[in-house]
Subunit: 122 residues, 4 copies
């Protein structure tokens, strides 16, 4: 995993884990890698991973058992909402940004369709 500059590493890792969880690459109840393992995998300081786990716990996406490790929550509802919320956030932002440029939702959709068609040609 290579990190973008400008965006804090810990946020990028959070996003990555959220994706893995919402795509069920990490399943409900499954144990995450320990802070140390993950810090080695991502070539990052353990503290940074610590922070990631703490924030994910605040969002009720993972929980920790003392001395046992960190686990994905088992409540499926939360996990379903996670993906929904992430998608809805992206869409809302997109619509707002386009509105700011005075581009209506209709036009935006047309532009996307055009890109879709172009993909086939390649």
């Amino acid at each position: 995993m290579d990190f973008k500059k400008n965006i804090p590493i810990y946020l990028q890792i959070i996003d990555r884990l959220k994706q893995d969880i919402s795509l069920k690459i990490l399943k409900p109840g499954e144990k995450l890698m320990s802070t140390r393992e993950l810090s080695i995998k991502f070539k990052v300081n353990p503290n940074t991973v610590s922070r990631v786990y703490k924030e994910l716990e605040l969002e009720n996406i993972v929980f920790t058992k003392r001395g046992m490790g960190t686990f994905v929550v088992e409540d499926e509802t939360i996990l379903k909402n996670l993906k929904k919320k992430m998608a809805s956030d992206i869409i809302t932002k997109f619509i707002c940004d386009m509105k700011d440029l005075n581009i209506s939702l209709e036009e935006s959709i047309n532009m996307l369709k055009k890109i879709e068609e172009d993909q086939w040609k390649i």
Copy 2:
């Protein structure tokens, strides 16, 4: 104007000015407010506005005449490209973000269409 947390104020102002320019609220050749005026209007540190103008000048969107102030460039081509580039950036980001969530462009478009229809009902 109220600023979002997490995003640097100077970036938000840059975006705002770019919008105004691309929507021709600020016309080619028109003089921008002085750094002082703008800093008062936005209740922001004058240094922050300075930085905004500097960055816009680097992007060839405005230029400075010493002692006269800062002006929107008159080259229409640049201004047209400005809007195009901004829109294209937003769209690219949107498509990537959705892909990361394993949502195809087709699905994304469908979700947007659904929102469009829902707007009519309100």
Copy 3:
């Protein structure tokens, strides 16, 4: 038994056993459950229970006969003091915490009285 986060499990178990002993649910001289039994009952690591027994022994509340198990001490004086000390600790902490908030002992008592009256209404 469900454990609070933030407070070490072993401390919570110690407190629980102290209560049981001071309330004579566990009587002087009575045998405690084995570490294994207790660890199963509380769904906890056996080491954790071991530690609990070790600490209680240090405080002279239980004692161990090799190969026989762990027992509540028979000295009634110790057990009486146990309850007294626990109560006094709680009270001292309460008074200090309220003082820190600039709430006098008199006011604290009034607040407690108010709660007492309210209970009757329910």
Copy 4:
């Protein structure tokens, strides 16, 4: 300020600041010391103070202006509730702890009254 062992320093500082705010030693809208200043005053690492400010911000007790510093919120309601909540937390804990020892609220109050009287004698 001297810190208790066993309790994380950052929690002790949080508590201290909450007290100062609820007692209006730090007034609404007032600027807190910078992370560096406070870290020197408390002989503590700047990161520790950083963490304190972050948590207080999460609880909506302070807010930060980028590059300007950290300030007590100005909303009086929040600050009033702060003191209320802190007191109520302490009282609830006290009542529960005593109940666990099989000591009724009535008895608890009597014990406190006794202590109150004893104070006069000294």
